[in-house]
Amino acid sequence: MAYQLYRNTTLGNSLQESLDELIQTQQITPQLALQVLLQFDKAINTALANRVRNRVNFKGSLNTYRFCDNVWTFVLNDVEFREVTDLVKVDKVKIVACDGKRQNPGALT
């Protein structure tokens, strides 16, 4: 069971909205929508783990942090995201991070 972390991303939210529309028009059942989301979790986790090669550096000042249930949540201010090609600056960024090395797959939601 993979992290459901990526459902609240642009991609994940678009998928959820589309599924909600289909449910509204009775084209699929809610159960099927749930299965689709679970499949999405698996797919996005394996894709990011195996098919992503590029690297981004970021630097900013830490506003708050939290660690609970093995999930880190950071809020940074005045952050610069640097990739070799370009630079993006933001005033505020919230980072939610789960453990990368899977130790106890049963514990995941």
């Binding site: 939290r66 660690f67 609970c68």
Partner: protein, 305 residues
């Protein structure tokens, strides 16, 4: 010298497993002689060998015997001049007269006070140790749900698998708190007593705002750490030889000499550079007192090369 030899010399001890500090000899409070609670500066030990120190002490003993008319009110001494004996005063810590100057004061009309400040070195050092860390505890007086606190408060960590407390930090005063489910809390990192209390109150207010009926019971400072610099290098090897009962020095384990002063009960880490760390105090005065006690001793072991 018998008195010194009656104490078995400390052997190097293996440090307990995983310990960061070098192994410490278990110091027995049952001192065979006197009540060597406050360390005394031996003399100007610019001598290169123990032999010279022994000779100097024999000279002292002879001179003390000559002045036997004086009721030596130094406690625990009977005509002899042990290297270490108890002294209550801060100012007159140089109680053993220098061999060179004894002749000047060797008159029958020498004052009866046991403290003969032969040198002006008994004045204050002029250096004030700076407080670096205060550890305090307080009881919030109610059971706490740590997961709620970790989820709702800012700057909190909670990993029950590793440690059964929430670790919370605030920026002003810059401190860290360990908050336990029993309602007890430890506050570390403050630089003064008042800051420690203020920080603990701030943490209590955070917990209170989360909905717990937090109180502020039994605030107590548990430990204070100070540090300072005597501004000259120190001969640690000499110090451990003469103050065996209090010192532990194993350069292979730790580069600092660990001096366990008995009165006040403070542990000092003394380094070759002249930096001194003092810890174990419950009140600020103990740090200052310990430093004033150790300073004349350190001056006696100043490196001259």
């Amino acid at each position: 010298m018998d008195q010194n030899n009656s104490i078995p010399p400390f052997q190097g001890l293996a440090s307990p497993q995983g310990a960061m500090t070098p192994g410490m000899p278990i110091f027995s409070p049952m001192m065979p002689y006197g009540s060597g609670l406050t360390p005394q500066p031996v003399q100007n030990t610019n001598s290169l060998s123990i032999l010279e120190e022994q000779q100097r002490q024999q000279q002292q003993q002879q001179q003390q015997a000559q002045q036997a008319q004086q009721a030596n009110t130094g406690p625990g001494t009977s005509g002899q001049t042990p290297q270490l004996f108890h002294s209550q005063t801060v100012g007159g810590s140089t109680t053993t007269a220098l061999p060179g100057s004894t002749s000047l004061y060797a008159t029958p009309l020498t004052p009866m006070t046991p403290i003969t400040p032969a040198t002006p070195a008994s004045e204050s050092s002029g250096i004030v140790p700076q407080l670096q860390n205060i550890v305090s505890t307080v009881n919030l007086g109610c059971k706490l749900d740590l997961k709620t606190i970790a989820l709702r408060a800012r700057n909190a960590e909670y990993n029950p698998k590793r440690f059964a407390a929430v670790i919370m930090r605030i920026r002003e005063p810059r401190t860290t708190a360990l908050i336990f489910s029993s309602g007890k809390m430890v506050c570390t990192g403050a630089k003064s007593e008042e800051q420690s209390r203020l920080a603990a109150r701030k943490y209590a207010r955070v917990v209170q705002k989360l909905g717990f009926p937090a109180k502020f019971l039994d605030f107590k400072i548990q430990n204070m750490v100070g540090s300072c610099d005597v501004k000259f290098p120190i001969r640690l090897e000499g110090l451990v030889l003469t103050h065996q009962q209090f010192s532990s020095y194993e350069p292979e384990l730790f580069p600092g000499l660990i001096y366990r002063m008995i009165k006040p009960r403070i542990v000092l880490l003394i380094f070759v550079s002249g930096k001194v760390v003092l810890t174990g105090a419950k009140v600020r005065g103990e740090i200052y007192e310990a430093f004033e006690n150790i300073y004349p001793i350190l001056k006696g072991f100043r490196k001259t090369t």
